[in-house]
């Protein structure tokens, strides 16, 4: 299962101070792991929510530093992208995996797959036994749809104001965090449904 999908900022941006990372969208799937663990029974709901938000922030920061280090090592220059070049942006994107140890911050060990598209990071937190090949393909697909449907290569703020579109996308392509083996026909059928929603 995928535990969490998030979109956040990476690399220094003029709007933020250096090293700061803004989470633009996050979706945690499934029951809160703290609810079912014995040690954390005494937390109240506000604390649980806070804990979950903090966990997501930790993931974002880890990916942020992984992207920064990876870009520094490869020495590639970032090319400015404009809306319309989503496929190209994805081809050029940096990608990698971060290992999160058990307890830091999730109870179990997790693998975080990430894609860095210019100043945006797309991250998917997967459980250890997950099929990472499938997860990688799904992440790329989701990122492409997000970039296209929310015009994320442009200066707008649709990612914040139209986040329901991402919810719908996830409900079709990653329902409740389940990765799906979709050949092009199945994928087309689901994407048609998504496109129909976006058109409204």
């Amino acid at each position: 299962m995928v535990r969490c999908f998030l979109i956040h900022t990476v690399c220094p941006i003029s709007a933020l101070s250096a090293g700061e990372c803004r989470v633009l969208y996050s979706r945690v799937f499934g029951p809160d792991e703290t609810v079912l663990s014995e040690e954390l029974q005494e937390l109240n709901p506000e604390e649980r929510r806070l804990l979950q938000k903090e966990k997501v922030a930790v993931v974002a920061r880890q990916v942020h530093s992984a992207v920064t280090l990876s870009r520094e090592a490869s020495g590639r220059q970032l090319v400015e992208m404009v809306p319309g070049e989503e496929v190209l942006a994805l081809q050029d994107a940096d990608s990698g995996v971060v290992r999160l140890r058990a307890g830091d911050p999730f109870n179990e060990e997790m693998s975080v797959l990430w894609l860095g598209v210019h100043s945006l990071g797309f991250a998917m937190v997967c459980e250890p036994h997950e099929n990472l090949l499938l997860a990688e393909g799904t992440l790329r697909n989701l990122s492409r749809h997000c970039l296209e449907h929310l015009h994320m290569l442009g200066p707008g703020s649709e990612v914040l104001l139209k986040s329901s579109r991402i919810d719908v996308l996830l409900s079709r392509l990653l329902p409740h965090g389940q990765l799906l083996f979709l050949n092009h026909r199945f994928a087309q059928s689901l994407e048609k449904e998504v496109a129909a929603y976006m058109a409204k």
Partner: protein, 811 residues
Amino acid sequence: MYSHGSESLIKQAREIQEPELQKFYSRLVKLLQGKELGHETVDSLQRLHLILSATKYTRTLPSELRTRLLSLLSSPVEQLQVLSSAVLREMPPLSAEELNYIQENVGQLNSQTAMNYQISVSLTLWPQQAGTRADLSSVCAQLLRGLDNRPSEAPAHSLMHTLPVLNTILTHSPECLTEDHITLLSKRLVDWLRYASIVQGGGASSGRFFTGPRSRQPVPIAELDGMVSGDFFTVLCVGQGFTEDQWMNVYSFSMLHHWLLTYHSVSNGNSTIETDDRSEVDGSVVSMVSATSSSSRLLPPKERLREKAFQYCQRLIEQSDRKAQKKTDTELQKACLVEAVCILDCVCVEDASLVFRTFPFIKALFGRLSADLSFARVLLPIAQFYLNHGEMAAVDCESVWKLVFGQFPAELFSDPFLAHELLRFLRLNLEKFQLGVPQYTHFFPNLLKFLAWDSPAVVDDFVDLLPSLVTPATAVELLHTLLDLPCLSATLILQLRSTCLPISEPGGRGLLSLDAFRNPSFRGLFLFMLRGEAGSGDTIDRLSTLHDLLAEAADWPRVVQCAQTIPVLLHIYFNTVVTVADEKLLAHLILVMLERSSILLNIPTYIKEIHRVFSCHLLRMCKLHPSLVVDQSHELLEFAGIPGNVYSKEELYTHVVWVLGEYLSVSCDSRCSVSLITSCFETLEAVLFEITSSGTPPGTVCPAPRVITTLMSALAKLASRSHDLIPRVSLFLSKLRTVTRGGSVAWCSDEEDLVAIVTRGEELWSLLKAPSVAQSVLTPSPHITTPQWHRDTNVAMPLQLRALTSLTHPQ
């Protein structure tokens, strides 16, 4: 991209004031009361979501708003379902009544999407009462009741999200499904996986103007290469449209691996409980039956599912050999291969008799894919299969390990996903490797290539793996390799560049080192760096030549990142090596440390950091085995006798002098002779004279004060063991006092440091005036340095306290 506009939106959402917020809430409630819910409502809901999610602190909504939002979950418009569920997920959890409201609706709604969003709300916001698991169980029960209906009665698409929801619940709480549930679901999974319809779904014949009877003929499904499919439906089959059970086929396969891992693992206690269905079948009959597929109808549901899973994976492996027409499908084929092999592995772990049926496929697959590096990530699960079952099937796995440890790291070190998966494979199976494939440690030069290329990403894995790679046979070569890892990093960069760039390219970065890389006379150096296996020598003679050739690589980011991880790994190395090495090996390592302290790639701060690590562990090693100092006294003295080392290797030098002073004594090793002490004394004395001589011109770099005091202390310790040396030390120390009284000296620029040095000198001088006292202070016998406290009846604290108590308290 993220703009100032977005940043200000988030700030506004976070900093919205309470009165304005309340106004917004009441406006929203009014909007939701209206009959028609139009664009303004949708926009407001979206803004509400932004306000709630932008901050990590919870905001409470007025209860009327909550009620309205809950009712929106059942709205026929998907946009409202989505928004209301998103908003509800951001709030503190639902009360019992609210939860009941949702649960009552779950089973009854016709719309799959609405049910989907409702469940996402209830799963996220489960109240933490005692009945938590029971609540989840009841949701499962309700969902499964929906599954139990005849397919024709249930409306279209109503079942599709059942499996993902169940999968997510059983991730967190597998006990929520009872045995009956498991049996029911196993049966349905078998139906969907193996018996989904093999004709294309609705719309297959659309597009024709004249719809005659012929056009209503069912069109069979096709394979990915366009050929008509000849066997049952799988995820690798295509059609114009799909029937519901074909969709369920996809969802079932997507969760199959996880299902098998959860409920079919051998150690799972539940699997031993007999259900009514199994009462007919005897245990021994089951294993015989599972060896043949024809009589699978007699099998109980779990075993039947296993058999069908086996057949499905077999078919997927065959289907993956076809050439898909679309690129995305080729990628899917690879993912399916990985999943199929994993499932087969899981199934064989559960039922060992299946291994003999499975191995031919796996072997054939390995043969087909091993030559193609683009399938490397598929070959890892195959390697796992070999590791788990190879011994049982008496299959030779040598070629597999050669591929995984020999070829993959050497050629695919730059693939971050392969690196992650290969290292994870190694980490998870470490014990099996240590028992069954102990020669994997010889591949450490290859494995370290992952670290050299992308240190930040994999250093965490190597923290776990490095201890197992430290063996007496590989220890010395491993130390050299770790110290030269930045060189390996640079070499790998050059290797990649040399294949990418044309032979003669003017300008361009790294030209000198690239030329050197391509130069035949230096080939051997680089080839040694790029070697895949250990055993061909600890290091090379012309190491410093290599460092000179790679000098410009010292500021390449990848090399710098690599250099930053080495100190940590060296600490782990040394911590491990003291547990596995004998004294002879430790002595060799001390020599390596002394030798390599001057042969390191010149990256800023790298050399200092390495020296610090060396110093720390030299100390630990000598403390554990004091006789090492006498053993290696010749080399240590050689190192300590070079005045230049005082300036270039201050940290290491200080520690060498300290261990010489501390452990060069008869009480540590009986081989320590008077002449040895004397020669050591003379060496250190000479260095001390030189660095404190007034002959040094002003303006040259000063030796660190700590070196001087350490030298003085060492000399005093040595003198306390051989009393005829005492006059020499005392003479020097009194001379020192005289010289420094005259004001500043050339060899010490700081006033306070000079005072500290002189004070120490005076302490030692007065101590040495009474030789026997000096001896007991500076060379204490072991029973003083290793106090026994509670074990020694004379000094045991409780006894002393008891004695004192009985003396002072009148009875």
